[in-house]
Symmetry: C2
Subunit: 635 residues, 2 copies
């Protein structure tokens, strides 16, 4: 029997000083609980998402020095932790010093493991380079090392030998992606098992929360564990980390699987936790199942992720107050309810900024929302400055200094719409926020981010776009969840939920007449999801083929019968499809480049997870053929 402490700590990225302190405190607690081993997450000293900070030699040395403090603390307890490992005599492919994403095992003040390996630590074998991950940019994998050493990678995947309480143990060390080996030619767990016998496996991770990811991990890891008939301890961190444009939450959910693949310990999501488990090391005993993980794909977990991520992001930038433009619409209402929950009503200022196009309905709903939340509220109209601006631009005389000709600008209704949006954000909200000692929020959702249905420096602006990884239908779901489960009363007025969504930037967009956004969310949410979230990203060619085959709704997941109702003919269907594809791959890219940071919850978030170039819109050869066929059949 071995007493093991799982240290599910909050890691502050780029702060080895703070993280080391946290770890030393946890080590002390584990010692008090008589744990013989404590396991920290991957990259527990430096943090994981640091951009190119890995190119600072002084930072790397600093991490080594803090790592040494942890090693020094291992006198009477075995400490497993993640850190950057340096080989100062070798280089990475880019010529910079050699860096490994490594798992250290320290005991009695010494590092273990170099009796059967070139280094006194273990190296990550499989490095993710999809979604938000950039491992190959910074770290040298065991796969590369094996090529360099002229060895088979399997030879290098050796267990680490420990002596605890006069018993020799063999531990298999995995780092995060090593456990997700389905698509890789190399299977680390199998290879280490072959080089065993192994008493138990450890997987130290720094694995961001994504809707449904833990469900998948539990299936995957359970099945691996059963195959090798060994317990596995998975330790993941909490906190948030970001890649600039995209912010990730880390939910922890550290888990212990017994040799049958059953879960015997499951740390709660999004909480710091030191969990102690007694692990049987003989096959005769099997640990009792005491924990059941939650489903992590429902609206409750999404809310948790967004609230946790937003709170921690505010903390990380030292922001204590926010200003929210409250239009009376659903996005700003959900935003207001979330921020109020996090910061308290005194620290949330809702600003309603009416123009002549805003209805009594939405103005009243905005006030009602503020009333329900009990937060700070003010009304700052924009009409005067909008009118002044239009007049000022119209009257400005433009002189051609080559010819002496003079001309004046004409201001179209569309230009005036954008002037309003920018007036609200860049003139009012930014000014109010600065004076209030706050930041102002961006309330954009994923549907509008996809097609750029927003104004740059207008409603697209803000210090954080906390809802921009939620499709519009998820924003509604969240609104209802907030009322029912978080506030347990109707803080977001039901009328806001029932109202047609509209920008109210012209009389054409009157909510009272039921005239709203050009995006038909029950269909477009799912179309856009196919463009951007499907693992093999869908293009108009896929969509049109499915349309032709009559399987579109099934494929994208929207309601059956909807497509025919919305688009009676192929011409209308194709016109709509091309319009949104052009926006998604055109102007919306330009807008996203300048968008605020996105808080990620889905399996594909904008920003660093959805890398994109501002290139020209493209339709494939086969799309054009399909289109021709469909339009000809019609005539």
């Amino acid at each position: 029997m071995l007493k093991i402490a799982l240290a599910q700590i909050e890691i502050i990225p780029g702060r080895p000083d703070i993280n080391t302190k946290t770890m030393l405190t946890m080590i002390k607690q584990a010692r008090q609980q008589c744990a013989q081993m404590i396991i920290f997450p991957e990259m527990s000293i430096p943090g994981y998402f640091l951009g190119d900070t890995w190119e600072q030699l002084t930072f790397l040395k600093d991490c080594e020095e803090y790592g040494q403090r942890i090693i020094n603390a291992s006198t009477d307890i075995c400490i497993v932790f993640g850190n950057i490992a340096m080989d100062w005599n070798k280089v990475n492919d880019d010529g910079r010093v050699r860096k490994y994403n490594a798992c250290f095992i320290a005991h009695q003040g010494k590092l273990l493991g170099n009796d059967n390996f070139p280094y006194p630590y273990r190296i990550k074998t499989l490095q993710p380079n999809y979604r938000e991950f950039d491992d190959s940019r910074h770290f040298y994998s065991l796969r590369k090392l094996s090529v360099e050493l002229g060895k088979n990678v399997g030879q290098l995947l050796q267990p680490v030998t420990l002596n605890i309480a006069n018993k020799q143990l063999k531990v298999g060390c995995l780092l995060c992606e090593d456990g997700w080996c389905d698509d890789y030619a190399v299977k680390p767990i199998g290879a280490i098992h072959q080089n065993g016998p192994v008493d138990f496996f450890i997987n130290i991770s720094s694995s961001p929360y994504t809707i449904g990811k833990n469900n998948k991990r539990n299936r995957l890891f359970s099945s691996q564990v059963k195959n090798v008939n060994c317990p596995l301890i998975y330790v993941n961190n909490t906190g948030i980390q970001n890649n600039g444009k995209t912010i990730y939450t880390f939910d922890g959910c550290s888990t212990v699987y017994n040799r049958r693949g059953e879960i015997i310990e499951y740390c709660p999501a999004f909480s710091t936790k030191l969990a102690c488990v007694d692990l049987h090391l003989t096959t005769e005993h099997i640990e009792t199942v005491t924990a059941t993980p939650n489903d992590d794909s429902d609206i409750h977990t999404i809310y948790q992720g967004i609230a946790y991520g937003t709170k921690h992001f505010l903390d990380s930038i030292g922001m204590r107050k926010v200003v929210i433009g409250a239009s009376g619409g659903i996005d700003s209402a959900v935003s207001a309810a979330i921020y109020t929950k996090i910061l308290g009503p005194d620290n949330v200022l809702l600003v309603n900024m009416p123009s002549i196009y805003n209805s009594r309905t939405t103005k009243d709903l905005s006030a009602k929302l503020a009333q329900n939340l009990g937060c700070q509220y003010t009304i700052i109209p924009i009409q005067e400055v909008v009118d002044y601006t239009v007049e000022q631009l119209k009257k400005s005389s433009i002189t051609n200094l080559s010819t002496g000709d003079k001309q004046q600008l004409t201001i179209s209704p569309f230009v005036i719409e954008n002037i309003q949006a920018r007036d609200r954000s860049a003139r009012i909200l930014a000014g109010v926020a600065a004076a209030f000692g706050a930041g102002f929020t961006c309330n954009a959702n994923k549907s509008e981010m996809t097609v750029g249905y927003s104004t740059l420096y207008g409603d697209q602006a803000g210090f954080l776009a906390a809802l921009s990884d939620l499709w519009k239908h998820q924003v509604y779901e969240l609104a209802e969840y907030l009322n029912r489960h978080i506030y347990k009363k109707e803080v977001i007025p039901q009328d806001i939920i029932d109202l047609v969504p509209s920008a109210e930037l012209s009389f054409e967009q009157s909510v009272d007449e039921g005239k709203g956004d050009p995006i038909i969310y029950p269909y477009h949410d799912y179309l856009f999801r196919a463009f951007m979230e499907h693992w093999n990203r869908r293009t108009p060619e896929d969509i049109l083929l499915w349309y032709e085959q009559g399987i579109l709704e099934e494929k994208i997941g929207c309601q059956t019968g909807l497509v025919a109702t919305l688009f009676p003919t192929p011409v209308e269907f194709i016109t709509d499809l091309e319009k949104w594809w052009k926006l998604y791959t055109g102007m919306a890219v330009a807008k996203r480049i300048q968008a605020p940071p996105v808080l990620a919850v889905s399996r594909r978030a904008y920003g660093f997870d959805h890398r994109e170039a501002q290139n020209r819109t493209y339709f494939t050869m086969n799309y054009e053929l399909l289109k021709e066929r469909l339009l000809q059949n019609r005539s």
Copy 2:
């Protein structure tokens, strides 16, 4: 003797249709010139920087089909080209379909090379994952394939056998990074040579322009060629490609090296070109040296890169007109001169937007600049709306809806500075640009981008930041170059060049009193460069150590004696250092996340080339010790 055509084409990223058409035209021309072989750049069909477009299966199939058209055109000429190569039966590490960055050699309608290789094409061995490159995210390298096949990578690096004019030839195929193998364990050119004999090498590239890169390439490739005693033909594309936040120009500069490493053909930078060379295939003959490459690190090439990149970016987004906020300062003046050269004076509108803080001096200089350029000009004052905004915010009553308390905002002078900056960009310039059918430019330079010395949604806004990869001293250099060499007269008034740089957002920033920016460019340009451009990025620890050792100026490259003049004591030095480091790693990161696209020219540009997380500022353990030592010594 073999007649080879180098096809230095402009590649449009993401447009296989256009690129294939360009290639077919070039093939026809090469045939007319009796070339026996034509060589296109890397990824000549799809383009190279496409973000995650590589995840669209329909796009991949499309590229294959266009590739087949090129193969079909190879009846009487051997065609070498780059394209994505698919193995639909295998997967990449991420589980998506297997993709190779490949070099195809087609002759008589068939692909060559699978007599000694698993595929009828060659695969990139070394994949860059530094700077702007993301190869491992998308492509499976030959290194990984060798591990998968259980072979040594050297065994797979075989030359391709061709039969041209009844002569058997062995060609060594390299893809871009394969030629830059200094820091890799694998050396492709050497390995292919060992599996030879090789008649000549080909390197197909898609290599972005960077100051001084061609100088380095010529040294490197010459030396490799001498070692293997084989000619090498390097073909690179022109055009621009981007990763969203960062835009790269491709200069071409395709080059033929004879077996002595001498340059016998050098295509001009930034031009489409079909160059034919006669290559001797016996060691008795050696081609005559006829070409000398230009130095590509001087201000002339920087200007070329910026003008070419800006013009092509405008073309790619279909923009024909620009609006420039002209302050009378150096950045907007240089911007105006460049855009006027590209678009013609009729399509450039300079807008001067004075407040009470703008001096007669800069207002006059702005007018003089517009006069000299002969472009469109207007003056739109901001004071009235700024005053109105300040009053409106002050008067707005904020109600605490929990307590009923009311409060009003106080507006500090600093808040008013930012209100002015946003009023100019988000209210005036964005409105004028929309009405004028134009985009408005961001004139920020790299020095201010580094520390966020700009206002978000204010002077940091715009559709493109064309000068933001130039340090302030380079902007001055460019101003003088524009007057002397491009316009050949003083279009940028000398007084603009001589004036102290200032934001003029308060009376504290009066140019007439010589009060300017807080950035002391002759020192900070070099300090900031050490933070962000040095290959091993420098931190306050490095800087302070060099300061202590008296070698700082030498290390960062600023003028000798400057540091002691600016900072008489360590306290002052340290205060300054910490102030800028905090900004660079703090607020400036937040601003850069929402900055416009950056046009890259340097060896490190902001955006995708300088990946960064919005984390907390950090000073290493050793920095704190050094600081303590320096401050103690003083007392």
